[in-house]
C-alpha cells in the first residue's frame, strides 16, 4: 500500500513538474496496462498469450491509430498509480467510467456498456421479464451489483429477491430450483449458464443497459490527463472500427448469443 502511495505521489509530482509546458508527447508506440484475468474481457490463452475483448479491440484500435502497442499486466489496485507514474500510457481493462476516476485520469469515449440480461431455465417458459410477469417469482442476483440495485428498486415490491455472494452460488441454486429467474451481467451469465452445459438456460427478453443511473457510462480507456491528443487518436480509431464492422464482429464473437 505504502509503495502504491509513494508511486502515486511520485507520479503526481512528476505531472506537476513537467505539466507546465508539456502538451503530451507525440507517441509512436505506447504501453497499455491491463489486469488479467477477467473473462471474457481479458484473459490468457492456454499458451499464455493475452486475449479477450479488450485485448483484441485494443490491438485493432492501435492498428487504426498507427501505434505500436504493448500490453503490460498490472494488478487492479495499482493500475491508476501505474498509469500516472508512466509505467504504461493507457489503461484498457474493463474500467467503468465514473466521477471519482475522472478526477485522476482522462477517459476515451466509452467503448462498451456491457449489457445485463435475464436468465431462466427454458422449462420456466418466460417470454418477458417485466414486473407484471415476475410478480410472486423469486429473482436471483449477485449481492451489491448494479443488477441488484436495479432489481431491488424496480421489482422489490412484487417479487422476492435472493442475493448471492457469487454467480456460481446463484447458478447452483437455480439448478436446485430455488430461484425462478436471474438477472446478471450478460458476459457472466453467458459464461456460467449458457456456455456451461449445466442445464438448459435461455435469455429472457432483451439485453438491458438503460437507464444510465443504474448501468453507468460503460467502460473507457484511461489516459494521463495531459495526453488529450492520444485520447483523441483512440476516439477516432474507435469511430472507424465501429464504422467498418470490425467492432461488431468482435462484439458478436464475445457477447453474441448463438440461436
Amino acid at each position: 500500500m505504502k509503495r502504491i502511495v509513494t508511486a502515486a505521489l511520485f507520479g503526481a509530482s512528476l505531472t506537476l513538474a513537467v505539466g507546465a509546458h508539456a502538451q503530451g508527447r507525440d507517441y509512436q508506440s505506447i504501453r497499455i496496462g491491463v489486469d488479467v484475468p477477467y473473462e471474457p474481457m481479458e484473459y490468457r490463452n492456454p499458451d499464455g498469450s493475452l486475449t479477450g475483448f479488450d485485448i483484441e479491440l485494443g490491438d485493432a484500435l492501435c492498428e487504426r491509430a498507427e501505434l505500436e502497442c504493448e500490453w503490460v499486466v498490472q494488478a487492479w489496485d495499482g493500475i491508476i498509480p501505474g498509469l500516472l507514474s508512466r509505467r504504461f500510457d493507457a489503461i484498457m481493462s474493463s474500467m467503468t467510467i465514473n466521477e471519482e476516476r475522472r478526477q485522476q485520469v482522462l477517459f476515451s469515449e466509452p467503448y462498451i456498456s456491457p449489457p445485463s440480461a435475464w436468465f431462466a431455465p427454458s422449462s420456466e417458459g418466460f417470454t418477458s421479464a417485466d414486473a407484471q410477469t415476475l410478480k410472486g417469482k423469486t429473482i436471483g442476483v449477485q449481492r451489491g451489483t448494479l443488477q441488484d440495485n436495479y432489481v431491488t428498486d424496480l421489482y422489490g415490491s412484487d417479487a422476492q429477491i435472493r442475493r448471492y455472494a457469487t454467480a456460481d452460488d446463484l447458478v447452483i441454486d437455480m439448478s436446485a430450483g430455488r430461484i425462478d429467474i436471474a438477472f446478471l451481467d450478460f458476459p457472466i451469465g453467458k459464461t456460467t449458464m449458457l456456455d456451461a452445459d449445466q442445464g438448459d438456460y435461455v435469455v429472457v427478453g432483451d439485453m438491458i443497459d438503460e437507464p444510465k443511473e443504474y448501468f453507468g457510462d460503460g467502460f473507457g480507456i484511461a489516459f494521463r490527463p495531459r495526453d488529450e491528443a492520444l485520447a483523441e487518436r483512440f476516439n477516432q480509431a474507435l469511430a472507424e472500427v465501429r464504422e467498418d464492422g470490425t467492432y461488431q464482429s468482435l462484439y458478436d464473437k464475445y457477447f453474441g448469443v448463438e440461436e
Partner: protein, 242 residues
C-alpha cells in the same frame, strides 16, 4: 481533522445512507438474526438436556452415538454444516417432489437446522460436563433419602448442574449470535447481510459495518445482562455473606 469533522457532520445530518429505506433493511436484518438465533437456541437446549443426561449413560449403545454426534458437530466449521444443509439437501434425488422440499426451498429452514444441531452439540457437552462434576455426596445423600434415579436427576443433579453450566452456556449464546453472521451466505437477509447490502450499494464500508457492529454489541450486552441477572438469582447461595 477537518475531514473527520466533516465526516461526522455528514453522518449526523441529512445523510444519504441512513434513509428510512436503509433502516428498514437493517430492521429486517435484526428481526431475522434474533429469530434465527432465538429459535435455534430454544430447540437446541430442549435437545441438549436429554442428550446430556443420556451421554452419561452406562450403556455404550446410548453413550457413543451421542458422543459421535457432538464430536462431529464440534469438529467441523458451522459454515460447512450450513453449506451442507442448504446446498446438499437440495440435490438429494427426488427431494423436490416430496413435502420436505417445502422446508428445503426457503433458506431459513436449512439454516435453522444447521444452527440448531450445532448449538445442541455444544450445549450437550457443556451440560454433560456440569452433570459429571456433580459432587458424589449430593447424589449419595439423595439415594439415602430413598429417591429414585429419575427423581434424583430431576431434583438434585439437574438444578445444580444447570447452575454450574450457566456461565459457560451464556458464552455459547453469545457465540451463537456472532456465528449467525454467516447466515447471509445462504441469502438470508440477516444483520450482516443487511450491512453487506448497504456497503455494496453506497460503497461505504465503515459506515455500514460499524453501524451493524454496534447493533451486535447492543444485542450481546442485552444477553450478558440477562445472564448476569440469572446468575445473581440462581447462584445467590455462592455469594459471600453480608
Amino acid at each position: 481533522m477537518e475531514q473527520l469533522n466533516q465526516a461526522i457532520i455528514d453522518l449526523l445530518s441529512g445523510n444519504e445512507i441512513f434513509t428510512a429505506n436503509t433502516l428498514d433493511i437493517y430492521w429486517e436484518g435484526l428481526v431475522n438474526t434474533v429469530h434465527l438465533v432465538f429459535v435455534s437456541l430454544l430447540i437446541g437446549i430442549l435437545l441438549a438436556v436429554p442428550l446430556a443426561i443420556l451421554r452419561g449413560s452406562r450403556f455404550a449403545i446410548i453413550k457413543w452415538p451421542i458422543w459421535c454426534y457432538t464430536y462431529v458437530f464440534r469438529a467441523t466449521p458451522l459454515l460447512i454444516q450450513l453449506y451442507l444443509a442448504y446446498y446438499g439437501f437440495a440435490f438429494v434425488p427426488g427431494v423436490r417432489d416430496t413435502w420436505i422440499w417445502f422446508f428445503v426451498e426457503e433458506p431459513i429452514y436449512p439454516a435453522l437446522f444447521a444452527f440448531t444441531l450445532n448449538t445442541a452439540a455444544y450445549t450437550t457437552e457443556i451440560f454433560h460436563g456440569a452433570i459429571k462434576s456433580t459432587p458424589r455426596g449430593e447424589v449419595e445423600a439423595a439415594r439415602a433419602y430413598g429417591m429414585s434415579r429419575a427423581l434424583t436427576i430431576r431434583r438434585i443433579v439437574l438444578p445444580s448442574a444447570f447452575r454450574r453450566a450457566l456461565p459457560a452456556y451464556g458464552n455459547e449464546v453469545i457465540f451463537m449470535l456472532h456465528a449467525s453472521a454467516i447466515a447471509s451466505v445462504v441469502t438470508i437477509m440477516d444483520l450482516t447481510g443487511a450491512a453487506y447490502y448497504v456497503y455494496a450499494r453506497f460503497y461505504a464500508p465503515f459506515t455500514a459495518f460499524i453501524f451493524v457492529a454496534l447493533l451486535y454489541m447492543v444485542l450481546s450486552f442485552g444477553i450478558q445482562a440477562i445472564f448476569r441477572g440469572l446468575e445473581r438469582w440462581l447462584l445467590a447461595h455462592l455469594r459471600p455473606a453480608g
